[in-house]
Symmetry: C2
Subunit: 325 residues, 2 copies
């Protein structure tokens, strides 16, 4: 199947690599709103201006949207779902219903399959919440994130005057996680579930006490958490914090038996050296599903909940049953 990428940042580069790991996929091009000559792809695949996308329609089976959820995807996904089977990683949880409705209408108009909110959360974590909740009907869900870099929180620190650069790690609280794993069904506040650790490069002469105070009291981002701030040099940030690792766990604990006497723990966990590259791998698998479902005549907006797992695998049904089942 022929894949195209719209938007070429960390995620777009990740999709380029992921497509290269799949023998049944071919990358036909990267599309960008920047000047194509300023963009250099890893694999040497050609770069085209975004304006050319629709005219290349016949050469593309699935378009993988690699823009951001804040402003790019809400506009681009409904627009391109008219012309292409698409996959996006829209991750603003609260706005998913609205995004779904707009993309669904566009995809149906165009007769295409549009997979939204594909990645790990939303995505694989959502799937695990669904499976676990359907199995253990009387139980409780817990999601922990980290240890990993939160781009949004790092950006929020960078906006503070006097901050040159920063990286923020979200860290699950081990004791809370263990209480969940031990079926203690704890009620956990925001503060009890995660801590936040910040590595900050201050500008020369900046007031570090004020910066630390501004971080720790920032509403929504840090005020509700136990936050640690470390001031480090630019070199240290480059050397020790260049990566974009992430991960987390989805757990459900539940009871069965005539008197609820048996406890069960379902846990799904991810430990990722590169958040965007892993997300890209999930996008590639769902691109395969979008292509296949479209060829079967399906149309409209889909989420991971609507995709039978078999559509994701390059194996045949017989191979899956004999090797994986």
């Amino acid at each position: 199947m022929k894949i195209a990428i719209m938007g070429y940042g960390n995620l777009g580069r990740g999709v380029e690599c992921a497509v290269g790991q799949n023998d049944d996929m071919e990358l036909v091009g990267v599309f960008t709103r920047r000047s194509p000559e300023t963009v250099k792809t890893v694999s040497g695949v050609p770069v085209y201006p975004a304006d050319c996308l629709v005219e290349k329609r016949e050469e593309i089976d699935v378009l993988v949207m690699c823009g951001g959820s804040a402003t790019d995807l809400p506009e681009q996904t409904p627009e391109y779902a008219k012309y292409f089977n698409i996959v996006d990683s829209f991750d603003t949880h609260a706005k998913i219903p609205e995004h779904f409705a707009r993309v669904d209408q566009a995809a149906k108009e165009g007769g295409n399959v549009a997979m939204i909110s594909v990645g790990w959360d939303p995505g694989m974590f959502s799937l695990n919440r669904l499976y676990a909740g359907a199995i253990l009907r009387e139980g409780r869900d817990y999601t922990f994130w980290g240890k990993g870099v939160s781009q949004g929180h790092s950006d929020a620190i960078r906006r503070i005057p006097g901050v040159k650069d920063a990286k923020q790690y979200t860290i699950p609280v081990e004791s809370a996680l263990n209480a969940v794993r031990n079926c203690e069904n704890p009620e956990l506040t925001v503060r009890q579930k995660h801590t936040r650790e910040c590595f900050v490069v201050a500008e020369e002469g900046a007031d570090r006490v004020r910066i630390e105070e501004e971080i720790k009291t920032m509403p929504n981002y840090f005020a509700d958490y136990d936050t640690t701030v470390h001031f480090i040099t630019e070199e240290e940030l480059q050397r020790d914090h260049a990566g974009i690792p992430h991960g987390g766990m989805v757990l459900r604990t539940g009871k069965t038996g005539t008197g609820g006497e048996h406890n069960h723990v379902i846990e799904y966990s991810l430990k990722l050296d590169s958040n965007p590259e892993f997300t890209a791998c999930v996008l590639a698998a769902y691109a395969r599903a979008a292509y296949r479902m479209s060829r079967e005549g399906m149309t409209g907006c889909k989420t991971v909940f609507d995709v039978a797992p078999a559509y994701l695998s390059p194996l045949t049904a017989e191979e899956m049953r004999s090797r994986l089942l």
Copy 2:
């Protein structure tokens, strides 16, 4: 939807409890090949002779097969798939393709949906192997079982002359598991992955040295493992080893990036106080899917790979998207 149970052992009782946890399901009856008057259900639901099943066809939406994989299911599932939507937990991995073919033919003849090999392995573990393999294309799969009771191994010990009763636990080797989690991609022999611990009640005057030797050298079951044998009293077995816990983990580790420089670990783990009750919960969720897929006009044999996750949940599509995605 109206559920019936065929076969009433640990699994059948588990399904009875699981149905009770699902508001959209009603248990219409338990069917047995024993004399119905000798069978007492937990919930008081009526017990009928297996011979009456087909005549009660109109009252049953999904029949949950609760017999064993050795002799019951290979015969019963194809037989009843002619008349009912069914779910079974057939778990003889090597014979799944053959079972699939026979059930598929019967289910198509009858215009029914027949879900086979539903549970946790095969079942949820299989699903996780599929998802993880579709995402991390360059990587390795590992499955560990335990700590938990293996019924087959316990039975094998009980067949040794001089053994009154026995329970066998399969235990994953922690160091092997950690090597996998650390992305060391170890090559692991059977012996390196699991150990086996046996609790044996010997008959009075039996030769314990011979029994221990017979266990440890038993081909297929124990010879390839580091096995520990403890002789205990019948009272100790009853007191300390009455449960049927199990569980395990499916892991896939893989690499991404232009030079495979980033490692990723996907791990799915189960910790179950009651193996049959958990399996029963999975069967109940897939009974819901079988019912819905049948109402949409689908027919034939299906596995967990063929079922879009949304079919499993009692939530509406909108609820799933807003609460779980």
